[in-house]
């Protein structure tokens, strides 16, 4: 760590804080406007809502509690509040000198399915704090398209610029050249370590209850930490504060039920989802199909309760539990079982002190485990991997005036990584890495004049195992070009103290391993530059460039073999790499024609002394071009057409060049060591796929809303290559293993 960098960052922070305090005590003739922004349907606060004053070049964001504050010249001002998925709210305010007045905004959810609405006088704004690099994923919009795949949270995120999917079968997120473990996944503020079902095909987030998904693609704020690259912050609904409601959905893959509503002092929400594959599996078994599991199911359960403990106090309890369970017969005498799942629990107490100051105190626990086992008669080979993370956090947010915002927080916790391997009840390898950890951060946002906004942050993290103390400065500068366009430059240092071991094919085997003595944390330097603008009333355009380095990434040696008796550090090899790219995102969410186009031009490469003679080579998910076009056309009052087109240039792979057949003296069979070409020097064919659907909406018996939807995944049946399978016996051959074929589906939905 360069301590001069830290010193400069600290001095910058001190400058901001001093400046903020000075302005807080200054008296001028401006008036103060403040208030809270809430969701009209549920009564919940809408954090990060954009607050724009007409004829002013810059805008503000409400804090996480939906609170905002402005200092305005005396006179009449028009304030517009915008939040993705909600109709804009406008207020005309007569500001008096040296006077404060409260202006609360209540935003109504936009009926995007029927969205031919154009909000007059409320064009899309360039949001200074949620500008390029940070995106509100349009979950509601994508859910409304009804796709079997894209209504999944992670599948939706994969459509954003800078985010790539490794295959049709993986919901893993590769954000700006990072591997999936470099993205911090938070559900209601709690880290989830393996948020997948069906061995990676879907994420564990129930789309019925997801309220918002914020994606920080890079250079994320100091309030977050522990990952090299990015953050996905998923917020579930805390329940409807106004009326009791629910839904039940039955399907061949899974079924869902939700219930939410008010109680005497707040609200509650309960959601359960379980796979319903048993009848299908039973039919397949009765047809004597091969490779059918003895048993398979997954489920997830979400529960939350919000308690209004006073006019300024709010307590929220949340629980989350997910599990996948498989039993698979290999033959008459052999069986394979795999269980994996996550559990989280959190209690959070938010308190507001007169609007300008708020605090949040939380305690959380997160657990991830997987237990694969292979049985062969009385002999068994089994593994048991666990991550257990218990933490407490305190955060403060202070808005001394309309131009400044200060945030600070500390957290402390204990995380353990346990890995046990055994044969026949004898432990052959055991690793227990326990870490106490603490982190603290300071973050200051400061408006400088009408056009500039600075955001400086510093985070410090300490891990006990190895006694690693790391400082992470972050700085973002916004410049508003006009009332509807801004540029943003960011830079930051990031550390990661754990690494995910995954095959990228079946997520149920995923194992997290920790830093320790002689296994230092990975670190990354990130830089980004972005431009965002609104034009033609309803269009929004984002374009940006990023560059990031990655160092000391520790990877489990795939050839390490039996770990018994080895020092922990000998299980790994270390890599470094870099990623660079350009992103473009063009969107329009209002009118008869809606949708977005996201494009990424990028590369990610790495190197290691153990691979490719320490020369840089493309990472497995390096992809030069990545394009997604999502479009929805409202044909009439009842008919709607939607489509998703994806294109990606071919991913790299290592081509076998040849081999040799040995007369091996150890086994007297004929092993074939394969001579390979340059690591990832070859490319698979380009990937492209079109999904399309048409929806007829109406009312059944004129009472119940109904929707009939015909949808085709992979319309023109492009056989995209997942990977090549090579055989090395006497007739060496190459076979393309392809991904999803054309899949038609018909859905009928009743809503009441």
């Amino acid at each position: 760590m360069n301590y001069r960098t830290v010193l400069i960052a600290l001095l910058t922070l001190v400058f901001f804080m001093a400046n903020s305090l000075a302005h807080a005590s200054q008296s001028d003739t401006k008036g103060r406007v403040y208030g809270y922004i809430t969701d009209a349907a549920s009564g919940e606060a809408l954090g990060a809502t954009n607050v724009q004053v007409a004829n002013m070049s810059s805008s503000r964001s409400a804090n996480s509690e939906g609170y905002y504050e402005l200092r305005l010249e005396p006179g009449v001002h028009t304030i517009t509040f915008t939040y993705l998925g909600f109709e804009a709210w406008q207020e005309e305010v007569d500001v008096l000198p040296n006077q404060s007045q409260q202006v609360d905004a209540i935003l109504f959810p936009a009926d995007i399915l029927l969205a031919d609405l154009v909000v007059e006088g409320a064009p899309v704004m360039a949001r200074s704090l949620t500008g390029p690099g940070t995106m509100d994923v349009p979950m509601e919009y994508l859910n409304s398209m009804g796709s079997a795949l894209h209504s999944d949270v992670f599948r939706s995120i994969q459509l954003m610029p800078g985010v790539m999917a490794s295959s049709d079968f993986s919901s893993g997120l590769h954000v700006r050249g990072g591997s999936p473990d470099q993205t911090l996944i938070l559900v209601d503020g709690v880290t989830v370590y393996n948020p997948t079902h069906f061995y990676g095909f879907f994420s564990t987030f129930n789309p019925d209850i997801v309220e918002s998904v914020t994606l920080h693609k890079g250079v994320y704020p100091a309030a977050y930490g522990g990952r090299l690259g990015s953050v996905v912050d998923v917020r579930n609904s805390r329940g409807d504060t106004k009326q009791t409601g629910g839904s039940v959905s039955l399907g061949l893959l899974s079924s869902r039920a939700t219930l939410q509503g008010p109680h005497s002092t707040g609200s509650y929400m309960l959601a359960f989802r379980r796979s319903t594959l048993e009848p299908t599996l039973s039919v397949l078994r009765s047809m004597e199909e091969e490779n059918i599991p003895d048993h398979f199911h997954f489920y997830d359960l979400n529960a939350s309760m919000q308690i209004d403990a006073g006019p300024d106090d709010n307590i929220n309890l949340s629980l989350y539990n997910s599990m996948d369970n498989l039993s698979y017969p290999l033959n008459d005498m052999q069986n394979f079982t795999l269980r994996y799942g996550n559990q989280t629990g959190a209690v959070n107490w938010d308190r507001n002190y007169s609007g300008r100051l708020s605090s949040s105190v939380s305690f959380s626990a997160s657990r991830y485990f997987n237990s694969p086992a292979f049985g062969y008669g009385r002999q068994t080979a089994a593994k048991d991997n666990r991550v257990e993370d218990y933490s407490g956090r305190v955060g403060m947010e202070w808005v001394p005036n309309g131009r400044s915002q200060l945030m600070a927080g500390v957290s402390a916790g204990h995380i353990s990584f346990n890995m046990i391997e055994g044969n026949n009840d004898i432990n052959t390898f055991s690793s227990h890495i326990a870490n106490a950890y603490t982190a603290g951060y300071l973050q200051a946002n400061r408006q400088l004049g009408e056009r500039w906004q600075l955001n400086a942050g510093l985070r410090g993290s300490w891990y006990s195992n190895g006694n690693y103390l790391r400082m992470e400065p972050r700085l973002t500068v916004d410049y508003s070009l006009t009332s509807r366009s801004a540029i943003k430059a960011s830079a930051g240092r990031y550390y990661q103290f754990a690494s995910l071991i995954t095959s990228e094919s079946i997520s149920g085997f995923d194992v997290w391993l920790s830093t320790a003595e002689n296994v230092p944390p990975s670190y990354s330097n990130q830089y980004s530059l972005g431009y965002k603008t609104g034009f033609l009333d309803s269009y929004e355009l984002e374009a940006g460039a990023y560059y990031r380095t990655m160092h000391d990434m520790f990877e489990l040696d795939p050839f390490g073999g039996d770990p018994s008796g080895k020092p922990y550090e000998d299980l790994f090899y270390f890599e470094e790499g870099f990623a660079a790219g350009l992103e473009v995102f063009l969107s329009r969410y209002t009118g008869w024609f809606t949708g977005f186009m996201s494009y990424t031009l990028g590369t990610t490469q790495k190197r290691s002394p153990q691979v490719n003679d320490n020369l840089f080579y493309p990472h497995n998910y390096d992809r030069l071009h990545d394009l997604n076009v999502v479009a929805k056309v409202r044909l009439s009052d009842h008919w709607e057409f939607s489509s998703v087109f994806s294109y990606g240039s071919g991913q790299p792979y290592t081509q076998p060049l040849g081999g040799v057949v040995l007369n091996d003296i150890v086994e007297r069979s004929r092993p074939v060591p394969v001579i390979v070409g340059g690591v990832n020097a070859n490319r698979l064919p380009a990937y492209h796929r079109l999904d399309a659907g048409i929806t007829r909406s109406g009312r059944l018996f004129n009472k119940v809303a109904s929707e009939l939807r015909l949808e085709v995944v992979n319309v023109y049946s492009r056989r995209n290559v997942w990977f090549y399978n090579y055989s090395f016996d006497e007739e060496s051959a190459k076979t393309a293993v392809t991904m999803l074929p054309v899949i038609p589906s018909l859905t009928y939905t009743l809503s009441f």
Binding site: R378, T428, T502, L657
Partner: protein, 300 residues
């Protein structure tokens, strides 16, 4: 109201164009070239082994066994002293196409815990392929707990062995099983449907196991023999191989070359050869043996 895009957008668009035109083909694709593959494995206290020179085949063609190098080669093995100097020289003779042997009548044995160097010179191409191996220390079976079992109906075969030794690390073992009467005894269930066993193939082996994986008592290691390392019913010979670094690297990369916990589907990595000048394996091991008899379970 229509609005023009700002200058920053055009700068970024220009950067996109620049990267799109310059960003392709960052990496050179290699083409296949036929290579000589050197293969030899010593066994402690056995005569110096044969050295084979094989030819690689391009993928897409038939991978024929016994595709030997048919050119000229000078093959020499050196015994090194403690300082790395050459203490003795063993010149090999070309006995058959691609096969080189050291006359057995000279009586030179592979010495445990000593280092040997193999040098293969190919005059036609000017290539020199070389490698070093340090021979693991000998060990033996000292106690048989169970050597006759009904397949998977009771506790497995179990043997107690002395420890092997290797400079600077714990011992690594491979367990191999050789049927002594494959023609008259069937295959165990796991291998019945396998295409591994064709006529003439009688051996199988385990993946590499570290010494720490076995229980250790009074400097003896206790090895319960894994069921899935038994392919044939009837009489079997069990071979416990303690292996050198070259075999360790070669077999652990060979076993997971096309699949491992953290390799992506279809991902293939290169083999770790520990040779200079070309691919190959010059390995060594120490071996202990035991006999076992496996009965097939009778159905009730």
């Amino acid at each position: 109201m229509a609005m023009k895009l700002g200058k920053p957008f055009y700068y970024l668009a220009f950067l996109c164009l620049l990267m799109a035109t310059k960003g392709c083909d960052l990496y050179e694709i290699e083409e296949y070239e036929g290579e000589v593959f050197v293969y030899s494995q010593m066994t402690a206290m056995d005569p110096l082994p044969r050295v084979e020179l094989l030819m690689t085949s391009p993928h897409g063609e038939d991978f024929a066994p016994n595709k030997m190098f048919d050119g000229e080669a000078d093959v020499t093995v050196y015994l090194l002293d403690q300082q790395g100097g050459r203490e003795a020289e063993y010149n090999y003779h070309n006995s058959r196409e691609g096969r080189y042997t050291y006359p057995q009548e000279n009586g030179n044995m592979a010495r445990p815990l000593r280092t040997y160097e193999l040098v293969v010179k190919l005059p036609e191409s000017g290539k020199v392929i070389s490698s070093f191996t340090t021979v693991p220390d000998t060990f033996r079976v000292v106690h048989t707990v169970r050597d006759t079992v009904t397949f998977m109906q009771a506790d497995p075969l179990e043997y107690h062995l002395t420890e092997s030794a290797y400079p600077g690390r714990q011992a690594h073992y491979m367990l191999a099983t050789k049927s002594l009467d494959a023609e008259n005894h069937g295959l165990t269930p796991k291998y019945e449907s396998s295409d591994l066993f064709r006529p003439g193939f009688t051996h199988i082996r385990s993946e590499i196991t570290n010494q720490a994986a076995f229980k250790n008592q009074s400097s003896l290691i206790m090895v319960p023999y894994p069921w899935d390392n038994i392919a044939h019913y009837g009489p079997n010979q069990l071979l416990f191989h303690a292996i050198d670094d070259n075999m360790y690297d070669f077999y652990r990369t060979l076993d997971h070359q096309t699949g491992s916990q953290n390799l992506a589907p279809g991902e293939i990595r290169g083999i770790k050869y520990n040779t200079k000048g070309g691919p190959g394996l010059f390995g060594s091991m120490a071996t202990a043996t035991a006999n076992a008899y496996i009965y097939k379970a009778t159905k009730d």
